[in-house]
Amino acid sequence: MTLNLLAVGDLHLGRSPGGLPAKLREELDVRDLGPATALRRIVAAATAMPVDAVVFAGDVVEQEDDFFEAYRDLRDAVRTLDRAGITVAAVAGNHDVRVLPHLADEMPAFRLLGRGGNWEDLTLVSRNGTEVVLHGWSFTTPRVLESPLGDYRFPRDLRPTLGLLHCDRDQAGSPHAPVGSRELVASGLDAWLLGHIHRPDALDVTTPSGYLGSATALRRSETGPRGPWLYVLESGGIRTVEQWPLAPLRWEELTVPLDGIHEAADARQRLLHAAVEAGRGIVGASHRPDVLGLRITFTGRTDLRREVDTLLAAEDLTEIPGVAELRCFVGHYRFDTLPEVDLHQLAQRTDPVGLLARRLILLEENNDPAGQRRLLQLARERLENAGRDPVWGDLALSTPTDAELLGFLREAAREGLDALLAQHREPGT
């Protein structure tokens, strides 16, 4: 006798997935890759099983006053789930403090827990009579500076107990309900279903508490499988925890070494091979995306970086062939390569290549702390100045960290070195 509960993390209805190439946006309906489609898939999977309850851990909608567009998708989903006899519950996050209460007022089938900033519990009952208690707390304002757990004591219960909360874990000073891991453990609940952070934790039956993650990739950086989590509970506790990677769009980070390539086309081949391998691993799963986006990092030693870059820039990377049953594209690639010749060897030259190689060694190995500091200082002045250019508007860079400055300098040094070496590889030089 079990109760099947589907827990959904940050959905952000009303937001379109980012990082998609322009050509892909023209060819596909971006909404098919976004939260609305993810929600439809979740509802379909939930009703197909069917589960006993679907719960949302906040940030269901992107914008707190989106009472129409995202609201419609959400309302239709709740209606469908309710018709299938599935209980729907949610807590409000920092993005949906206004929309969810409105939906709860309009649809009794939608249970919003913890309205008014007070903990509220809901008893979930499965079709076969298994009971689980769900505790929830909702944001009442977009900014919550204190932990909602505070001094609250959860009532003891012999039935399985779950917590549903949108919060910022272990980030003291966060304006989004900062909560400590210890607080969560001390609460005594069997598991915490958390929202807010888009990267999901590795949840399983031994570690059932954590971030559910975004229901679908909203940014290029949100790599890996995305989707709701199915909790199968019984009277004794949690039996299984399993992710359903229902997201229509999935991003993956791939590393492609360029060591030993003889021409730029070799890099393309390696990229294709890596893409096919990545796709193979995904296609075999029971739930799989429609579209796979790749973030490629080229590594290794090669003198053909610029050639590879030129070749790839001219290619259509919005449809990688050979990735079975998946539309696969490259959303972003970068180079983290070094020239074939050893950097120290280059640094012995007295020409601009050598001088630049020395600086790269300085940045990478910090063999001259004072020199590095000086360079960082110059970079800070310059980059801060450039970062403060009014053209960036509210994206203006405030204060980059040393690590960020180092990153820029390293990348620039590598790129510059490659460009200078390429000059001497050109015919006539």
């Binding site: 450039a386 970062g387 508007g393 030089t429």
Partner: protein, 1088 residues
């Protein structure tokens, strides 16, 4: 080498030769008016020191004496021949620079106006040495990895702004829609209220309609009352007239019918068959007609029978005549006699046949030679016989008892004929046969005997017969007899038929006669025709009687019908009168009322309509409230109207409210479907990503450019040609560290301004600065070249003419210093006698002055030198406060909008006024930019280390950081020049805009705000927006909020760090104060 003496004996352009000597070993200023020969001195030297060339003039006689240490060199040139002597001994020419290099020693003003080919050669050498084979600029140029593409950054920023604006609009629309949706419950309430008011208004309107209808009904009733009663409803005048006409017509018809009846009755009587139509007998003439027809038939039959009798009689007579009877009558032959006759006939027949046959044979034989003709004739005869016999036999055959007998007869006849034919055929061969002749005779005889026998027998029988006419066959005779008997019998029969027919005829005649007698006199001699005529006449009478009877009956009917019709019409007419309530006959009254009928009907119709309206209105008025019902009953129209008016006001909004509700719902539905927010957000996010990527690229580019600059500077440091370095230092000195000398990527020299950091090429430099740059380059070059050649004198021919006094002194001082270092002799040729004093001021040494005009005894009085304005020395601090010293120095306030390079050094060295004074007085640097340039030189580095002022550089960095911090959120100033470059440059309102910019203190944001609050005509919101967008794009607007004092301090701290500059707080305070210092140097609190 130094010049001791120059002799010009003959030189093109020089009239009288002259010698110039008495030169100083260091500094010589040769003055002379124009055309005094100053430039000729340089020409003469060139011809002496440069190997002769073909292009040189031939008319040359020149000489010079130079000394190099303890060696005296003399050189003489005569035409194309040059000879050298060393210490008086002839010798080869000393190792001198080549012609191009020698040009570097002769700095004439016209050669300093632009780079010469020599300069270009020099630059190329420098350039090659500086790049080391790499093109660093390409990395920062088009397509390079560190290319800064502001245009694309701005485009991405614009895209983000546009997307953000669109999202804002969408959110605004969304918010408005939320507000609208919040209105829905209230709207529903209002709709309900308006609906109620609508119903009340309708009820009131209905009640008013009831009252109105009532009024109308009463008026209609009153009008109807005015008509007489009853009114002949349904009548019209035409109806009456028509009835009357119809009545007249019927009466006339009736009269006519009576007349006709009378006439018909008279006619009937005249026929004598009846007195009246009713008495008309039914006379059926069919039987008499039948009788008559029978009679006619009988008459005809009788006639025919009579004719037949006649024919029979004739036949009988004929039949008898055939037989020879003397009279046609009955004659009977006994059969025995008939048998004998038959035998006799047969015998005769046979004899005749025999005879004929023999005759035929003989004829045939005779005519046998004619063969065919006889045969044919025979055939013809045969056929004739056949035909004749057939005809004769036909009756017998016809009347024969049996056909077989008839056929037998025919066969026999045929057989006979064939025999005849055969016979005739044989006869053709037997014509001359005597037997035949004998046979013929005997046959003839037999024939005669037979004939006699038969004739006798015929007589005995009483038959008159011609034997020649005797039928061929006795049967034929018998038949004739039979025929005769038959004919006789038939005759008798015919007679009997005639008699019978006559009897019948008589019978018919009698019948007819008796019939006719009933109706008048029958004919006297009744026969068919008379009887017919009588019957016809009777029939005519009967027909006439019948016609008359029918006419009478018809007339009677007509009269009856007319009578009925008349009665009916009279009745109807009477009814009309009765309907009108009038006495029959009161025609005029009736017609008069009829004429009033339309008006009456109209009045009645009006009344009915009014009643219907009233009823309809009452029916429509559903459940009026008590008040309304009371007002209605009382007829209080005013009260009802008042309530209606109030309700109408409220209900007038109903449609609008419903439409508003529908619009809101439609808008909500549309918003739910359109996903505009999502699209706008997606566009905004994409634009942000793109801008973030641009920013990343930009920062990467800046990092790359920084590295490139570092590498480039280090490389230049390592590999920079010494000459270029030296020229750079000299140039910095010349320009009091306002400029530094650099080569661009093409190796062309340029001057980088310290304040703007802008690299000016030669063309954009002022003439004076340009000449100073070229002097620095050439002097540096020639100094480098003199490692292998002797140090030669430097000649400047009015080279500093275009320099201002300060620059003049700087250049002069620098050259003098360098000359002293090199042991070089300087000659300055000038037309300005004051230049002697300038050189003295600049170098501190009085130069040797040679007045060329006097030397050449040109007779021109030397112009008295102008008194140079005395330059006030920079005052040293005398223990006064920094503020007081600043006032004495007339230190300008800090203008943070300007480049930090213009910052007066006072604001950095308040605590070290001595250093300040030294920099101002000795190094002639007074600004931050100049000091930066100075500190890059060895001299400057030495100065910095000497004064133990390592913090000086940090102070300068801090000052620059403070300037940057101050500029945050303030944008750049907008003036006319900026406006002319903007879209406003083409507007007619440009002048007004420029004036406004001036009055608003040229802050871009302040300027735009003033345009919005105090409008300039023809500069509306669109143009302001356009201007704003351009200013933003060009970075004149800074959307960031300005930093306050503390924030500026923190910003400076971030850049420099307290460790690097312990007194950073104090410095920032100085800068803050310095910014608040007013134009008259009064220290005033800062107003931020």
């Amino acid at each position: 080498m130094k010049l001791l003496r120059l002799e010009i004996h003959r030189l093109p352009g020089i009239h009288r030769g002259f010698t110039v000597d008495g030169f100083d070993g260091q500094l010589n200023v040769i003055t002379g008016p124009n055309a005094s020969g100053k430039s000729s001195l340089l020409r003469a030297l060139r011809y002496l020191l440069v190997p002769p060339a073909k292009v040189d003039p031939g008319d040359l006689v020149l000489g010079a004496c130079l000394v190099d240490g303890d060696v005296e060199w003399t050189v003489e040139r005569t035409a194309g021949s040059v000879s050298w002597k060393r210490n008086g001994s002839a010798c080869p020419a000393p190792g001198l620079p080549d012609a191009d290099a020698l040009q570097s020693y002769l700095l004439q003003v016209d050669s300093l106006l632009h780079a010469t080919s020599s300069d270009r050669t020099l630059m190329e050498r420098f350039r090659r040495e500086l790049v080391g084979g790499f093109d660093l600029d390409r990395l920062a140029g088009d397509g390079g990895p560190f290319e800064v593409r502001r245009g694309r950054d701005q485009a991405a920023a614009r895209e983000l702004q546009s997307a953000t604006s669109e999202l804002r609009d969408a959110r605004r629309g969304n918010a408005q829609l939320v507000e609208l949706r919040q209105r829905l419950p209230l709207l529903r309430e209002h709709i309900a209220e308006a609906g109620t008011a609508n119903r009340v208004e309708t009820q009131c309107r209905d009640a008013l309609a009831v009252l109105e209808a009532q009024r109308g009904r009463r008026e209609a009733a009153a009008r109807l009352e005015q008509f007489p009663r009853p009114m002949p409803e349904g009548l019209d005048e035409e109806q009456v007239l028509s009835l009357e006409r119809e009545l007249d017509a019927i009466r006339r018809s009736r009269a006519d019918a009576s007349r006709t009846l009378d006439e018909a009755t008279a006619t009937l009587r005249r026929q004598g068959l009846a007195e009246s139509p009713h008495e008309l007998p039914e006379i059926d003439l069919r039987a008499p007609r039948e009788w008559l027809a029978r009679l006619d038939q009988e008459e005809e039959r009788q006639r025919q029978l009579g004719e037949q009798e006649q024919r029979q009689r004739a036949r009988a007579r004929e039949a008898g005549q055939v037989l020879g009877e003397r009279a046609a009558g009955e004659h009977h032959l006994p059969h025995a006699l008939l048998g004998e006759l038959e035998q006799a006939a047969l015998r005769l027949q046979h004899a005749e046949r025999e005879h004929a046959a023999l005759q035929a044979r003989i004829r045939a034989a005779t005519a046998g030679r004619n063969g065919n003709r006889r045969t044919r004739l025979t055939d013809v005869v045969a056929l004739a016989l056949i035909g004749g016999g057939g005809a004769l036999l036909a009756p017998a055959v016809w009347s024969a008892q049996d056909g077989v007998g008839a056929i037998g007869l025919l066969l026999q006849l045929s057989g006979v004929l064939l025999a005849v034919r055969r016979f005739l055929a044989r006869a053709s061969t037997a014509a001359d046969d005597p037997d035949l002749q004998e046979q013929l005779r005997q046959a003839g005889q037999q024939q005669q005997e037979a004939e006699a026998a038969l004739s006798a027998m015929a007589d005995r029988a009483g038959l008159e017969m011609e034997t020649s006419g005797l039928p061929w066959h006795f049967q034929l005779l018998a038949q004739r007899l039979v025929a005769r008997d038959e004919a006789m019998r038939e005759l008798e029969e015919a007679r009997a038929a005639v008699a019978a027919s006559a009897a019948r005829r008589q019978d018919w005649t009698s019948r007819l006669t008796e019939f006719l007698r009933q109706f008048g006199n029958p004919p006297d001699q009744p026969d068919g025709s008379t009887l017919r005529a009588a019957l016809n006449h009777l029939e005519q009478r009967l027909q006439a009687s019948e016609r008359a009877g029918r006419d009478a009956a018809e007339a009677q009917r007509t009269a009856d019908t007319a009578a009925e019709g008349e009665m009916l019409l009279e009745g109807r007419l009477r009814q009309l009168y009765e309907r009108a309530g009038l006495e029959p006959g009161d025609r005029e009254t009736l017609l008069s009322r009829i004429r009033q009928l339309p008006d009456w009907a109209s009045a009645r119709g009006t009344l009915r309509d009014a009643e219907v309206r009233e009823q309809t209105a009452r029916d429509r008025l559903e459940h009026p409230d008590p008040d309304l019902r009371h007002w209605l009953e009382c007829g209080d129209e005013a009260a009802i109207e008042q309530r209606r008016s109030e309700a109408a006001k409220q209900s007038a909004q109903l449609d609008g409210l419903r439409a508003e509700e529908a619009d809101i719902r439609a808008a909500i539905d549309a918003a739910e479907r359109a996903h505009r927010l999502e699209q706008c957000r997606a566009r905004r996010d994409t634009a942000r990503e793109r801008l973030a990527e641009r920013r990343h690229r930009r920062l990467l580019a800046e990092a790359g450019l920084l590295l490139l600059e570092e590498v480039s500077a280090e490389y230049r440091e390592l590999h920079q040609p010494a000459a270029l370095r030296e020229a750079d230092q000299a140039f910095r000195q010349f320009t009091q560290y306002a400029f530094s000398l650099e080569l661009d990527t093409d190796g062309r020299p340029g001057a980088r301004a310290v304040e703007s950091n802008h690299l000016h090429n030669l063309e954009t430099l002022s003439i004076g600065t340009r000449m100073q740059l070229l002097i620095a380059l050439r002097v540096a070059w020639l100094r480098q070249q003199e490692t292998t050649t002797p140090v030669l004198p430097l000649f400047l021919d009015e080279a500093l003419t275009t320099s201002d006094p300060v620059r003049f002194e700087a250049v002069a001082a620098a050259l003098h210093t360098a000359a002293r270092t090199d042991g070089r002799q300087i000659f300055y040729l000038t037309a300005q006698p004051e230049d002697v004093q300038r050189w003295e001021h600049a170098t501190g040494t009085r130069p040797t002055h040679i007045d060329l005009a006097r030397v050449r005894r040109l007779g021109q009085a030397a112009t008295a030198p102008l008194a140079l304005p005395s330059r006030e020395p920079i005052p040293a601090p005398e223990g006064e406060t920094p503020a007081a010293y600043a006032r004495r120095l007339q230190v300008p306030p800090i203008l943070p909008r300007e480049d930090a390079g213009q910052l007066h050094l006072f604001h950095l060295l308040r605590d070290d006024l001595d250093l300040l004074h030294g920099l101002l007085a000795t190094y002639r640097v007074e600004s931050l930019g100049q000091l930066e340039t100075l500190l890059e030189t060895p001299l400057g580095r030495q100065l910095a280390s000497h004064r133990n002022h390592p913090g000086l550089k940090n102070r300068m960095r801090a000052a620059r950081a403070w300037f940057d911090a101050w500029r945050i959120g303030r944008g750049r100033p907008v003036d006319r020049v900026v406006l002319e470059q903007s879209p406003a440059g083409g507007w007619q309102t440009l002048d007004a805009l420029a004036q406004r910019a001036e009055t608003t203190g040229d802050e871009a944001e302040t300027f735009l705000q003033s345009l919005e609050t105090r409008r300039i005509p023809n500069v509306g919101p669109k143009k302001i927006e356009q201007l704003r967008a351009w200013l933003q794009e060009q970075a004149y607007l800074d959307p960031r909020p300005p930093l306050d004092r503390d924030e500026r301090y923190r910003r400076v701290l971030q850049v420099v760090g307290e460790t690097a500059l312990p007194d950073i707080r104090e410095l920032v305070d100085w800068l803050e104060v310095g910014h608040g210092i007013s134009a008259d140097n009064e220290e005033t609190p800062e107003h931020v």
